[in-house]
């Protein structure tokens, strides 16, 4: 089927009552997760993941896609109302969003964010619809050398572009890769690093690591900061409508942000965060009212919010068409498919069109739901922020325990979750990234599989992995990423 037929088929899949319910629950929970301090989309999706194992894979993936889009909207809401970004992609939103909120324009800012996210999500979806089957076709010509280059090269490039120093990302990435080797070897069935624990035969659970690193460590950070109680700004429904000038000034930033977000979403890296920062920079350079940006200008919110939403939508392309996630939340989406025996990659569109097109359509339906439901529900989200922190922390710690246990029904996973929580806490205190651990854990087994297959195909010659034309192009691109950063450093110094 072609792209248009595929999208129509996907919409048909999403409008099945159970899938529509999954999309609704996903965006609703996602927004709540984004609004509540501490729980980001990674820990949130990880907690929900075990619950999806009881349902068909399409429901699980739609649920996680909903959490992904919903949490971004939710975290931007707290960025505007509290000056507290729920995740790194919303940091930029605080700069102008909170200042506008203090001027009494919180409602219109939330409306511009929601409409902008919808517009950018739709724009990105149209391009994704056209682009994904093309990439999946290209992926069909990939062999072990190309997939090795994409997974290993992608991880290396990711370490370079993820912010912080190179070592700040490489160190946790290597921890993730080491953890990924625990369990039974896929090829020889040899047990590795299980130390006599039969529960570790299937490897260390992604849920355990994600919930521990992100959820438990964040709760420990919240315990430290309990005395810092933020002051809430109230928003009423009738105050949501932006002025004519605010609408007019938002259109161009939406368009620019959506284009930036779509492009960056296809590349390795924290695309939602990078695109929101880049969009903000672009608005500061080209917007008509650029001198007001930083002091409370609608362009400073409209552009970045459109950018991070477009990036969130387009970043599912590499997951669906090549089976390669470039962010921790998308790694969980991949895990949801793998656990259910679905192999993401170029053949997904042929073997499981209901998942492939269903998820793409679900991202758009999720955006519609965010627009239709979340603005009227803004009062509920604000009220959610009034849950006492001590109750929230106790609840999340229990939910995290249930989530870690129910992945494999194993108490060992729960004990490991606590250890990963402490590891995440220390890594964060020392400014190391956490997402590379998850990506290393998920992609490590793929890197090993493609490496071993490549060596077999190349008669043991390592060069085979680097000299196949597409693989060589990918490695050159990775080298290019490093070259650009070296040149930038030289120019700056």
């Amino acid at each position: 089927m072609d792209s248009i037929e595929g999208l129509a088929y996907g919409l048909g899949v999403v409008f099945a009552p159970e899938n529509l319910l999954a999309a609704f629950v996903g965006v609703f929970l996602g927004t709540a997760i984004g609004v509540l301090p501490g729980l980001g989309s990674v820990a949130g999706a990880a907690l929900i993941l075990p619950l999806t194992f009881h349902y068909p894979p399409v429901i699980g993936v739609i649920l996680i896609a909903g959490i992904y889009t919903g949490s971004m909207y939710g975290s931007s809401t707290t960025a505007v109302l509290l000056n507290v970004p729920g995740d790194s992609a919303s940091v930029v939103t605080t700069l102008d969003g909170y200042k506008l909120a203090q001027k009494g324009r919180a409602g219109p800012v939330l409306a511009v964010m929601a409409v902008g996210s919808f517009v950018a999500g739709t724009f990105s979806l149209v391009l994704v619809t056209l682009f994904t089957p093309f990439l999946a076709d290209l992926g069909l010509s990939f062999g072990p050398a190309e997939f090795f280059a994409l997974t290993a090269g992608g991880l290396i490039a990711l370490a370079r572009v993820s912010g912080g120093t190179l070592v700040s990302n490489l160190f946790p990435l290597m921890i993730g890769l080491l953890l990924g080797t625990v369990g039974q070897d896929q090829v020889s069935s040899q047990f590795r690093f299980t130390f006599g624990y039969v529960e570790l035969a299937q490897g260390i659970s992604l849920i355990t690591v994600a919930v521990g690193l992100f959820g438990i460590s964040e709760m420990l950070f919240l315990v430290e900061g309990l005395h810092r109680t933020p002051r809430l700004l109230k928003v009423r429904l009738r105050q949501l409508m932006p002025s004519r000038s605010e609408w007019r000034r938002s259109v161009a930033p939406w368009t620019r942000g959506a284009s930036i977000g779509f492009g960056l979403g296809l590349l390795p890296g924290p695309s939602a965060t990078l695109s929101s920062f880049l969009s903000y920079k672009v608005e500061k350079t080209v917007a008509k009212h650029r001198k007001e940006i930083g002091e409370g200008a609608i362009e400073g919110v409209a552009g970045p919010e459109a950018a991070n939403n477009a990036a969130a939508t387009s970043s599912i392309v590499p997951v669906l068409s090549l089976g390669i996630p470039f962010s921790a939340t998308l790694a969980l989406m991949l895990a949801a498919l793998l656990v259910q025996g679905v192999d993401p990659g170029p053949l997904l569109v042929v073997n499981h069109p209901e998942i492939f097109w269903g998820v793409i359509a679900a991202m758009w339906v999720g955006n519609v739901m965010l627009l239709v439901l979340n603005l009227p529900l803004v009062g509920i989200w604000v009220r959610l922020l009034q849950i006492p922190m001590y109750v929230l922390i106790a609840m999340v710690l229990v939910f995290a325990t249930i989530g870690a246990f129910s992945g494999n029904n194993s108490m060992l996973d729960v004990r490991l979750m606590v250890l990963f929580g402490l590891l995440g806490y220390i890594l964060r205190k020392l400014d190391f990234g956490l997402a590379p651990v998850i990506l290393g854990l998920v992609l490590g087994p793929f890197v090993e599989k493609h490496l071993r297959e490549g060596l077999r195909l190349g008669n043991g010659e390592v060069w085979y992995l680097f000299t196949e034309p597409i693989a060589m192009f990918i490695w050159l691109a990775v080298l290019g990423v490093f070259a650009v950063s070296v040149v930038r450093r030289v120019v700056r110094s």
Partner: protein, 158 residues
């Protein structure tokens, strides 16, 4: 002896050193796995490769702590009451995890919630008990009834 000027550098140097020890142990264990042949590599090849890379990255982490200007500042570890609360929360969490197989998830959770609330906020015990009862009932309804998850049960059958 070179003195590291701030906490973050010291912390990262220690992390790098721990990484180096871990990588060495990891490579040592990996060396006991089958190597296979060049055409058909065994299960040792990938772990040994990434173990060596991890050792190099750990050394770079230590080196960066000593020479790079990009890493600076002190680590904000909790102090005073905040440190006590953090430590008490972690210890309570560890005890909770240890108690689950003996008491079952529901009872252990109910006790844990009361304990954490009392650690974090000096509210009356009766209020903490009521909050715990409400949350535990919610957990029972959602995870035991709606999702029917096979969660750990205690000697009383729940």
């Amino acid at each position: 002896m070179i003195q590291l000027p701030d906490g973050k550098r010291r912390g990262r140097a220690v992390a790098g050193a721990v990484g180096l020890v871990t990588a060495s142990g990891y490579v040592f264990i990996s060396a006991g796995l089958p190597f296979g042949t060049r055409v058909s590599p065994g299960s040792a090849i990938f772990p040994i490769s990434i173990g060596i890379v991890f050792a190099v990255v750990s050394l770079l982490t230590v080196a960066e702590a000593f020479v790079s200007e990009a890493i600076r500042g002190d680590v904000e570890w909790p102090t005073g009451a905040s440190a006590v609360k953090s430590a008490a929360t972690v210890i309570t969490l560890a005890i909770y995890v240890g108690l689950i197989p003996y008491l079952g998830l529901l009872i252990a959770s109910a006790i844990f919630i009361v304990a954490v609330i009392k650690i974090l906020k000096p509210i009356p015990l009766i209020r903490a008990l009521m909050l715990s009862g409400l949350i535990t009932a919610g957990i029972y309804g959602l995870f035991y009834r709606v999702f029917a998850l096979p969660l750990p049960i205690g000697p009383w059958g729940f």
